[in-house]
Structure formats: C-alpha cells, structure tokens
Symmetry: C4
C-alpha cells in the first residue's frame, strides 16, 4: 500500500466487491442483473427502430427508456462511489461507454435527436465477457485472444497486402468496365473489389465486358486462394497455444486493475491489499 | 443385474438385437430397410410440395402416405415391445422423433393440415448415422464429433463475439444508410450484417452511400479475416485427436444404453447382461 | 514375364515409349503436342458457343473441327497399336474419354447435333496431369492426393451431415416463407439452403419474413462456422503427410500399369520387363 | 570490391543511405515522406475519377498533379545519381514502376488521355513494405512470404485442378441451362462457375432449371469443401516455419542488392563494402 492512500471504509470495500467483481454470489447477481437490463435496453432500441412498433407503443418506449436511463444513472454513480480513485474508472473504456450510454436520453430531452449515441448502448453488451470470466469459458477466450494477439502483426501485413491488391484491381476495373456497369469511379470499384475478393459478392455491381469478367475471375480465385493465409497463421498459433488457466477475478479496490495472478495478495499496479 | 429386473424372454432378446442393433445380418437388414422407407418418405414429402406433382399424382401420394404411416406405426410398436423399459425409448431423442413422424398423418386425417410435422420426418434421416456406426466411418465420425466437442466452448465464445459485432455494426448501418437502401430498421440491418460478415452476400439489401460502403468494406474484411478463428480452433483440435476406434455396437436389451466398451459384458448404466 | 505373352517387336516397344510415357524427349514432345491440340480443341468448342463467332467463322470452325478429329483418330489408332493388350487401354478411363471425344464429329456428320459429347473433350484436359508427372509438381500433387484420400471418409461424413441439415432447414424454410418469396417447393428451398450454407448467396431467392430471416441467419452462421471442419481435417492430414517423392514414370509396355517403384525392373502387375 | 569499380565520393554514399535505406533517421524520414506523397497521389487519382469532384475541383487537380509529378521526377533523378550502377535501378521492378508513374503526366500533356498509366501509380504503394522492413513487421512478412513460397507448387496444382473443374462444369451448365438463363456461351458459363465455386455468388446469372440447380449445388458443395485444400497446405507450412528474424536493412551502395545477412560487411552480390 502506498502511504498517500486514505484507508478505505469497510462498506466501500463491500460495495466494490459487489459492483466490480463477479466471484461472490452478490457480485455475480449484480453483474447478471445489469446485463439483463443492458440486453433489454438494446432490444428496446432495436424495436423502436421498427416503424409500426414505434407508432403503436411510443408511450411504452418512452417510459421504458426513462426507467433504463434511471437504472444506468444509479449504476454509474454507485461505480463512482465504490472506487477509491474514480478517475481511473471514468477514463477507462467501460467508464466512457457507461457514460455515453446514459447521456443520450438526457441530451434528447433537451435537444431532441441524439440517435447515434443509442448505438453506443450496444457496446455495453461487451460486459458479458466480464461475466463469462468466472465461468469455464474464461480459459477458452483467453487462449483465443492470446492466439489472435500473437498473429496480429502477420494478419495486419496480410490485410495491408489485400488492401493494395484491391486498390490496384479497383483502378484497373474502373478503366476496363467504365461507368456503364456501375464501376462509376475508382473508390466504388475498390469497394466492388473488396466485395469480390472477400467472396461476399452482393451482385449489385457486376462486370459485363469479357475482359472485366476475366479480371474478376482472377480476383475471385485470388480471394479464394489467399483466405488460406490468415487461416494458416491462426491455426499455427492455436497449435502452439498452451493451456494455462488464470481464474483470479479479483479487481483492486483502489485502482480497479483486474488482471492478477491466482495467488496475488497485493495489486501489482498500485500495491493496495486485495480482498482475498 | 439389478434384482428388480424381470428375466427377459428369448424372443424379446432376439427382437431387440434385430431392431436396436446393427451388427448381425438381420439387424443390419432391418436398419437399412427402415432407412430406405425413411428416404422414400422424405422424397414423397418433397415431391408433394411441388404443385404440378401434387395435382397430377394426388391419389398416389395419398396411398403412399398411408403405406408409410403403416410401416412407421408397426416399427414404433415393435420398438416398444422389444425393449424391457419402454419409457427409456419413448422419451429418448429418437423415440420422440419416431412418434412425431408417425402422428401427422393421423392428425391430418382428423384435423387437416399439420404440414409442419412432416418436416420432422427429415429428422429421421439422422438414423443413417446408426448404420454408419458398423462401417469404417464410425471411427471417423467419432473423431469429428470429439474434435468438435473439444472446440465447442471456444467456438461459442467466437460466435458470441460475432453476434455482438453484428448488433453494433447493424445499429451503425441503420443510422448511416437510413430506410432508403433497405436498412429500414435495426433487426433488418443486423440480418444484413450477418449476411455480409459470413460472406454470403445475397445482395437484396446493399449499401448505397459512400460511408455505408466504407463500413460495409470493414465488415467484409473482418468477416474474411476472422473465419480463420474457428478454422484454427478445429485444426488444432484435429491435430491433437488420437486414433482410438470403438466398434462395439451392443445396445443394452434392458435400458437401451448404446455406448459400451469393446470388452463390456454388462451394461455400465443398469448392470444388465449384454448379448455378447 | 508370363508364358502366354507373345514377344513384343522392337518398333512396338519404341512406339509405346513415345506414346504412353513422358520421360524420353520424344515421349515428352508427343505428350505436349497432343496437349496443345486438346487445348486448341477445347478453345474451339468454347468459341463456337459464342453466337457471333459461330456466324462469322462457321466455315473455319468446320475445317478445324475435322482436322482435330483427324488428329485424335490417328492418335487413338496409334494407342491401340502400341500396346500389347489393347483391351486394357480401351476400357480404361482415358481410353473411354479418348474414344468419346473423337466420336461426336462422326456422329454429328451422320445424325446432326451431338453437342453433349463435345463437353467430354474438356475431360481430355486431365491429360495435363500426365505431363506434370515428370516435373517437380508430381511430388506435390501426390501429397495433395494422398492427404485428400486420407481425409475422404471424414469429409464424406461431414458432407452427409451438411446435406441432412439442408434437407431439414429447406423443409422449414418452405413452411415459413411459403411460395411468395420464391421458396415455392421443398427441393427449391433445399437448393436455396445449399446456396446459403456454402456462403455462395446468389440472392435470386431471399427470405422476406422476419422468422425466415432469423432461420436464414442461423443457417449462415452454421455455414460460416462449420467450414472449419473440412479445413481442420485436411490441415491435420497435411501436417502428417511425409515427403517421399516417387518419380518413376515407366508404364508397362504389356499391360500399361503406370505406378512402379523407382527401382522396379518388372511390372508389378503382369511381370513384364520394363524399358529401364 | 572489384577493381573496375570507381571509388564512390562521400556525398554519394550519404545520398545513397538517405534514399535507398531506411535505418538512419534521415533515410526513414525520406522513405515516409515519399510514401505520404504516393498516398496523396493515389488519393488524387481516386478523387479525380468521381465525376462531380472532377467538375468542381478540376483546376486544383491539375495543379496537384504537376506538383506530384515534379516531386516524383526529382526523386527519380536523385535515385539515378545516388547509385553507382544506375542500370540496376532502372531495370529493377521498382525502377520501372517509378518511371511509369512519372511519365503519364508528361505523355498526357503531349497526347492527352493516358489514363491507364495512372493505375500504375497504385503499384508504388508497394513501397510501404520497404518501410515496414525496419519495424518488427519484417520478420512476420518474411515468414508469410516464405510459407507462401513453399506452398506455391501445391497451390498451383490445386488452382489448375479448380480451373479444369470450372471448364468441364461450365460446358455442362451451358448445355443444361441454354441461353435463356444467361448461360449464353461457354466462356460465360465458365465465368459463372468460377463465381460459384469460389463462393462469391453475384447472382447476376443463376440457374433456373431443376437439373441446372442440381449441378450448381454440386459445384457449390465442391467449392465449399475444397477450400480446405489451400488452407490445409498453408497451415501445414506455417506450423513448420521457423522464427529466424533478419533485420539487416543495408542496401549495397554499388549494386543496390538489399538482402544481406546481419553481420555482412561486404555485398554478397558485387563484393562492395557496405556502410555498416
């Protein structure tokens, strides 16, 4: 413990454990309850976008919106109270997402609109991975993430090469097909190349000249062949990946650092004593 | 053998071996015969759905329908008789499928309709894996299933991440493209995101604004890149998979448990003596 | 050598080496010359199918057709002469393909039509693998084929499961979407399921009801996920595959058996002395 | 050092290090500056292709075009001066690309047009890999390229087999579907087969007859299944690939050879002393 830290009162310790951790019954219940509210709020935003539902249930949506905003506001305040150094939470990824998913209702009340901010609410769904943490899925997702991290550099090089292929092939297709078939300009042709190389193939734009179709065939075969590259990279990483589960879900009551070793007694980040 | 089991008469033993097992000539013949009837019944349901066929051969379909229902009914009764504890069969997956694929004809006779239940008949095709069991394919399919089982947790985490990506990207596309291009509401936009991320790309809905196309490009490249993840997972599992064929196809005449070790003499589930 | 074999004259031996083998300069030249004629004949069939080309060059096509038919006829007769047991060649895969790609011109001369048989000419392109045999590609293609052979059983089980999924999902989609959206009958719906599960996604048929789109999403995610299975199978096989190049391209002058060990002096099939 | 080489003046040595290498601060700055100009030039070509942008900003495009052409011309001349044997640069891949991306403006000034040559400018983007060379990505991309090189032969055999499948299936589809559904001639049908086999599936052409759809289903399942082959090949190569980073980015000031071992003091190509 660093000497300039004030001692934390017991009720704050308990609140921290309930709100920020998921390995006590109360903590798990809190996390699941919040997740249920998040899922309901996302479902409501979805349903509101369906025009006949908005017309029929506009009052119900209005009420539900304010109830959820209320719950999210209370949760945000509790999170600020429960932690010793609130700044660490406020400027963390989840802190910003939590704030942004509460604000739009208030902003909409004053200015109207603010639809874009509702999209941020979907980001709160990522909290689900917090709950998965205490289940047996944690080991699996850690391996997933570690394998992906190891192959990140290789995959970036690959995506870069794919992008350059698309720029070159797109310019070529624009020159060959011209504006008749929908290849009106180079950015659009590059978009079409991405659609084709990734084997999505919407078909809203498709080549009509023999030469354009020949180039398209080459792009398709390239896309079909080089998908082997990222797959090969990740497969090789997975084969190497070692099984070493870390199940310690303690979060530091002082600085909220969450990655601790199983037998950690003090926070490796700020030296504060963990509630073990 | 548990003491409360009545001794099973010999004819019942023989019937059980013919109906539930596939490693005697008679048993194999019975299984293949039933499979042929199942394939014919599925083909008939298919053909009935083609309107000109239904008009032309409606009488023939009617007769064939009742013949097949008769065969399935007899088979179901035989299965009930041949087993010592019929409840285990009745409430097993195959027992329910077998019942549901016999009922629609009778229900249709009384109420009309009941088309949905005919779809269940296709599930009976799964019996084919019962017959494959005695061939050399069994070892192969066991390895397939075991590798898939081992990678289940990792693949679920992956599919969950894919779903969250689709929810976020779908909300964004709805806001960017609006209702003009077919992104009328968020659920529809999420559907479009799934179509795009999985590289299916029907093209019935496609972005038309430059920003929408940019986001679509990102979704496609993401989908093209992350298909490496499940592939890598399964590849790594297959590399680990060991060759250990289990060819014992004995099913317990008492409780119908089917998974026994090669040298098992008693059922590991109820202790009944196996016909070895 | 078996006693009932007549001694083979030297010119026949030489002819056999030129026509059936590819490891002498003359043999390689003969194979490449025939391959060039095959490629020209396939290109001609392609060009003939383009209507404006047929109208403009119909006389040239007619002449070229008869020249190629002449070359193929002479080649077929030479192959019959060069081998000691012509029946083995006549009833082999290449023998039948060679005959069927020569016949349509003669048949068309007498009856007209016979277009279908022209398609068989494309099969002659497979001869290219005969020439690749002597290059360094042989080792590579052998590994490819051996890995595919080892994974055949597993891939068949997989394709079988895919087919059953398509039958069940197709029946369901027909019931859910009805005839409005193009899911007119079950075979058509199954076709749509295959288009969707394999992530091809033409878009000529696409679901329009919310429930139909939900099921479609599940099919797409399934298709996106299970492509990992064949990939995993083949990857694991390739990792196991050993490098053991076999470069002996001797074909037996008596029975035409083509797979011999590097140091083989007699045909392992009929005991005839090889030209080593 | 070979005796017929003239001694290189110091300023030339310094210029060479700045222009051709990327491991000194000045060299890295030069490379990044040129890359920024390349990206701007590619972006300008893209924007010029959008018709409303060309109309509105035609004067700005004209000026920017000549500024970029000027920079590229000066760069080209500097590259010629900085190297001892200019011919090696002029006839190298990058040398030709650099020349061709400077010429179109001059040619367009004299003759008008020359749009096609602008497409070549996109090829200059490949210089980005030169800069990546000094970062930690170099090791990664080298492994990528080495794994791809090792699997080149196997992948070529695979692509060849895919092409033959497409030719045979395309001929068949033309015969089955005829001109009604868009399968007007064999080359077009082969194009459609490539679209389908690679699981792109534009949907501009789609089969309508039951038999055509059956064949299409087989093509799709084949395409879905055999994508496992290149993936398996590359995965196996990656598993084998060894980690041996080579970070020496010295380029020979005499002959410009760029691949040197870490502790190389003389160019392995011409024996010239490296600036280490």
């Amino acid at each position: 413990m660093k000497e300039n830290d004030k001692p934390i009162p017991t009720w704050k310790h308990k609140l921290h454990e309930v709100i920020y951790e998921a390995d006590t019954p109360a903590g798990k219940f809190f996390d699941i309850a919040i997740l249920v509210v998040i899922i309901i709020s996302v479902a409501l935003v979805m349903m509101e976008s369906v025009s006949w539902m908005l017309l029929k249930y506009s009052w119900e949506f209005y009420v539900a919106e304010w109830i959820i905003t209320g719950i999210f506001t209370v949760e945000y305040i509790l999170r600020l109270i429960a932690i010793n150094k609130p700044k660490r939470y406020i400027f963390s990824f989840y802190g910003i997402v939590d704030l942004l998913s509460t604000l739009p209702s208030y902003i909409g009340f004053i200015f109207g609109g603010a639809n874009l901010l509702f999209a941020i609410r979907a980001l709160r769904l990522l909290r689900v991975f917090r709950i998965l943490k205490v289940t047996r899925y944690i080991g699996e997702s850690r391996k997933l993430i570690s394998a992906l991290k190891n192959s990140k550099a290789k995959i970036l090089v690959f995506l870069f090469a794919v992008l350059i292929i698309c720029v070159i092939a797109g310019t070529l297709m624009h020159l060959v097909e011209g504006s008749g078939a929908g290849f009106d300009n180079i950015p659009l042709s590059i978009y079409w190349c991405i659609v084709t190389l990734t084997t999505v193939g919407f078909g809203d734009i498709a080549p009509v000249t023999p030469l354009g179709r020949l180039i398209a065939s080459l792009i398709m075969i390239t896309g079909y062949g080089i998908i082997a590259v990222p797959t090969g990279i990740v497969s090789a990483e997975f084969s190497k990946a070692v099984d070493k589960p870390i199940n310690n879900t303690q979060a530091c009551p002082n600085c909220n650092e969450g990655r601790h070793l199983d037998d950690a007694e003090f926070c490796h980040n700020c030296g504060y004593k963990l509630n073990v």
